[in-house]
């Protein structure tokens, strides 16, 4: 297939969706042009666009001038896969990255696998197939050159988009073979590069959307503008446990710019619910109008009567229910090794502590929104979604359409953090478009967004450790409870390091919707566990790093049980690395240090955090962070992720909470929901990657979970007070 495109600039091509729906353009603009480009070299050169494209496969198109377009299949939520996934293809294709244009793919399950952003899995699960995709396209180019030059393919080499035949001295760019290559046979098996020959992977590579972001170009779902598009907003019940009873939309409807007030039900009889359809309020009141501000005003004029359908929960109730649960054994343990009861009875010292954390809202900076245009036998959806494949199933079921009648284009997302795994807002947009018979952009206000969440659940966990006379940990017990599930991972560290081990999980039902929030469960349990072990090490009279290393040593030499969900060597490796890099053990006056380590999403992270007290308030001066995520595809992008996770983790452990009174969230905007700000971020973060050549694992989440404990442990050193309840800033010792 050959496609003609208009002349475009590398950093500013017109984006035409690959999805069905007929030449959909989401308002991306052409910016800059070659002649007036005064940007520094590090931005990369402007490119002349080819006359035509030759498609090697669904991912790779090559122009006759050698310019390459690589599709990025997965949703981009700020984890930078739109840069790193195409880098992997470009590496095996063996092209010059400066010659590459990256384009976001829409949902296309015929051509792409796992188009999902979640669990820090995009790179890990895409690694092999993306490499093969690049290598296969390269092989097709080689086949074309071998044929044209009449030489054996084995005598050809490539470098930065040029094919060479050494003995004849022939050279040719990919562009000149692209047309012939497109009709070559797609090879079954291909040889992949030896990682030591990587030229793009492992090299700092800037965000492919960096210039557009810095220029404020339309990239996000909220930026979509379409001919005839109406703005829709929802009014949801004021409390979890309520639903719509009666609507009087007359006053709202009479307001300027307002088209209609309707109610929708997104989960009608027979709706085929996907796991991603987490939604406390399937029935909503909707206002549709011409402009955002007019609809916002009309929203205030709505008169809705609500009715209670189940109990209205408050944070105080959650606290006492969770406290009751962690005080009781479960019917069946999640894991039991040895004889914990007996071991505790014989222990010299027992340490027991309970840790708490509140609900958290996701608070992506871009509130939930989605564009939908439902017409006869067709639905077009555009917007920020981490789970487009599941969204399509939900929309198909809601509208009674076949999946192939629905197109979904993912926009760059103003944050995800798990919130946009649950695409009810996109289903709502489809329901609204169908009901009002017009293209609509559904926009949540910040208040809608914060009070209709799929929140990080409130958690509580109790730890108990038994030490022998030498301070060795001989027994360990963890019992966790949370809304909709326990935070405890029974097979993670320190399981496997203690002969007598017991893990128990309690869950509390709730009508408050909860879901994955950046590093689900780990985001709380790592802070609790690593704070607890710090305290246990202190009671045992041991250095906290040595104490942990001794446990890993045990797991390396003689692990307890078989289901241990971590590699103790890699775990110990990051701890040793951070110990060395931070100069652990050297006292600095006024600096208080805490350490923490955690393994989740297949990657290992250890951190040392330095805190200083300034006017009675803590200031994080520096964080040292060692990471083992295998091969690092894009070191600069990876560092950015790690830094972000650390800042985000400190912020939420320190400042953030969502509480409930009678089913209503007490915080609905950033005046009452506190997020970390500039002055509260660490002055400096230094990141060290373990270089081990192992296939890459995820990085969007793993740096967040341990940092809360590194902070708590440092704050203990600074204040003499152990912190058990998040957010820490509300603890007396830290009120300044």
């Amino acid at each position: 297939m050959t496609k003609n495109l208009i002349s475009q600039n590398r950093r500013s091509f017109l984006k035409v969706s690959a999805a069905a729906g007929g030449g959909m353009i989401i308002g991306f603009q052409i910016i800059g042009c070659k002649t007036e480009n005064k940007l520094p070299d590090f931005v990369g050169p402007a490119l002349d666009m080819p006359e035509s494209w030759n498609e090697m496969n669904a991912f790779v198109k090559i122009g006759e001038n050698g310019v390459v377009t690589i599709m990025s299949p997965n949703p981009e939520i700020g984890q930078n896969v739109k840069t790193s996934m195409p880098m992997i293809i470009a590496e095996e294709l063996d092209v010059d990255w400066n010659n590459v244009i990256v384009e976001q793919a829409g949902l296309d399950t015929d051509n792409f696998r796992r188009q999902l952003a979640g669990g820090s899995q995009s790179i890990r699960q895409g690694w092999k197939s993306l490499r093969e995709t690049g290598a296969k396209a390269r092989n097709m180019l080689l086949q074309a050159a071998a044929k044209e030059w009449d030489v054996p393919i084995s005598e050809l080499t490539t470098d930065a988009g040029v094919i060479s035949h050494k003995s004849s001295g022939k050279n040719g760019g990919y562009g000149s073979f692209a047309t012939a290559a497109a009709s070559m046979e797609i090879p079954g098996e291909v040889t992949l590069k030896d990682p030591k020959d990587f030229k793009i992977i492992g090299k700092d590579t800037r965000n492919v959307d960096g210039l557009k972001i810095a220029m404020g170009k339309p990239l996000f779902g909220l930026d979509i503008q379409r001919e005839g598009m109406l703005i829709a907003m929802i009014e949801h019940p004021p409390a979890f446990g309520m639903k719509v009873k009666n609507v009087d939309g007359s006053a709202a409807k009479a307001m300027p710019g307002i088209k209609d007030v309707v109610t929708i039900n997104c989960e009608p009889e027979g709706f085929n619910k996907q796991w991603s359809d987490v939604n406390a309020f399937p029935e909503l009141v909707v206002i549709v109008g011409e402009t955002t501000w007019e609809v916002m005003q009309a929203k205030k004029a709505l008169k809705v009567e609500w009715e209670e359908t189940s109990s209205l929960e408050s944070s105080n109730d959650h606290e006492s229910i969770l406290a009751d649960l962690v005080s009781k054994p479960t019917a069946e343990p999640a894991r039991k090794d040895g004889d914990p009861e007996k071991a505790f009875a014989g222990a010299e010292t027992i340490v027991e502590r309970t840790y708490n954390a509140p609900f958290l809202a996701h608070n992506t900076m871009e509130p939930m929104n989605f564009f939908a245009n439902v017409t006869e036998g067709k639905a077009e959806l555009v917007g920020p979604i981490q789970t487009p494949e599941f969204l399509r199933k939900s929309v198909a079921s809601l509208l009674g359409l076949e999946e192939d009648q629905i197109s979904i284009m993912m926009t760059r997302m103003g944050g995800g953090f798990g919130r946009r795994l649950y695409g009810h807002f996109a289903v709502e947009a489809a329901a609204i478009s169908q009901k009002v018979g017009a293209p609509v952009k559904l926009v949540y206000t910040r208040e809608d967004d914060m009070t209709q969440g799929t929140y990080r659940p409130a958690y509580k966990v109790t730890y108990k450790a038994g030490l022998d006379a030498d301070g060795n940990m001989i027994a360990f017990h963890v019992r966790g409870a949370g809304t909709h599930g326990s935070p405890v991972f029974a097979d993670r560290f320190p399981a496997g390091t203690v002969d007598h081990y017991l893990a128990e999980n309690h869950a509390k039902d709730s009508n408050i919707s909860t879901g994955a929030w950046r590093a689900p469960r780990s985001n709380f349990i790592a802070t609790a566990e690593q704070s607890f072990l710090d305290e246990v090490a202190e009671v045992a009279g041991k250095d906290p790093i040595e104490f942990r290393l001794a446990l890993f040593d045990r797991a390396i030499k003689n692990p307890v049980g078989e289901r241990n969900d971590y590699d103790p060597k890699r775990y110990a490796g990051v701890l040793k690395l951070v110990k060395e890099k931070s100069g652990w053990g050297q006292e600095q006056s006024g600096i208080h240090r805490g350490v923490s380590a955690y393994y989740c999403h297949n990657s290992y992270v250890a951190q040392v955090l330095d805190v200083e007290m300034e006017d009675g308030l803590p200031k994080v001066k520096k964080v040292y962070c060692a990471v083992d995520c295998g091969i690092v595809v894009n070191p600069e992008g990876a560092k950015n992720q790690v830094e972000g996770g650390i800042v985000d983790g400190i912020g939420h452990a320190m400042y953030s909470a969502l509480t409930f009174s009678n089913g209503t969230p007490d915080q609905n905007n950033f005046d009452r929901y506190r997020l970390i700000r500039h002055s509260e971020a660490p002055d400096e973060i230094e990141v060290f990657f373990v270089d081990n050549g192992i296939d890459p694992t995820g990085l969007g989440e793993p740096s967040l979970p341990p940092i809360g404990a590194a902070l708590a442990n440092a704050l203990y050193k600074a204040t003499g007070t152990r912190l058990y309840s998040q957010p820490f800033s509300t603890e007396e010792a830290l009120l300044g």
Binding site: K38, G210, G216, Q225, E366, I646, F670, H678
Partner: protein, 152 residues
């Protein structure tokens, strides 16, 4: 509804809206300048930061009727091609993650740099304290602000 003649990014633009409409929505919905973002609507997050006569303003709580003859500058007005020193510094440090807050961060940084070419850490934090980044790019923002002066 009333007519307002606005000076936006050096151009005269006319809109017919209710005077209470915040500048943010005039920019986004009426002038198709969507670089200025909505994040909270109550002057708490900084996503909507623009300049009015060179001063930082949260456009989400600035009624269009208060603008008068003042000059409005949005992210789109900083440069034609991304070559404003602060934009270049942002590229150098590869600041964004999701990118949503960055237009607001950049606008706050530009106002700071216009007054103070070599701000200290503390001055940077003070000037940008009103701009939230959920992705946590604060350290890169600080580094970018510090190197912006060299591209002037």
């Amino acid at each position: 509804m009333a007519n307002f003649n606005l000076n936006v990014n050096g151009e005269n633009r006319q809109v017919d809206v209710d005077g209470s409409t915040p500048l943010l929505w005039v920019l986004r919905d009426h002038l198709n300048l969507v670089g200025t973002k909505y994040g909270c609507g109550i002057a708490q997050c900084g996503s909507c930061t623009v300049h009015v006569d060179g001063k930082v303003v949260r456009s989400c709580t600035t009624p269009v009727s208060t603008i008068g003859d003042s000059k409005v500058t949005t992210i789109e007005g900083l440069s034609e091609d991304g070559t404003h020193p602060v934009q270049v510094a942002w590229l150098e440090h590869d600041v964004p993650q999701c990118g949503y807050c960055q237009a607001g961060q950049i606008m706050s940084a530009v106002a700071l740099i216009n007054e103070n070419k070599n701000p200290t850490d503390e001055q940077i934090a003070n000037a940008l304290q009103g701009n939230i980044c959920r992705c946590g790019t604060y350290i890169r923002i600080k580094a970018a602000v510090k190197s912006a002066a060299k591209y002037s």
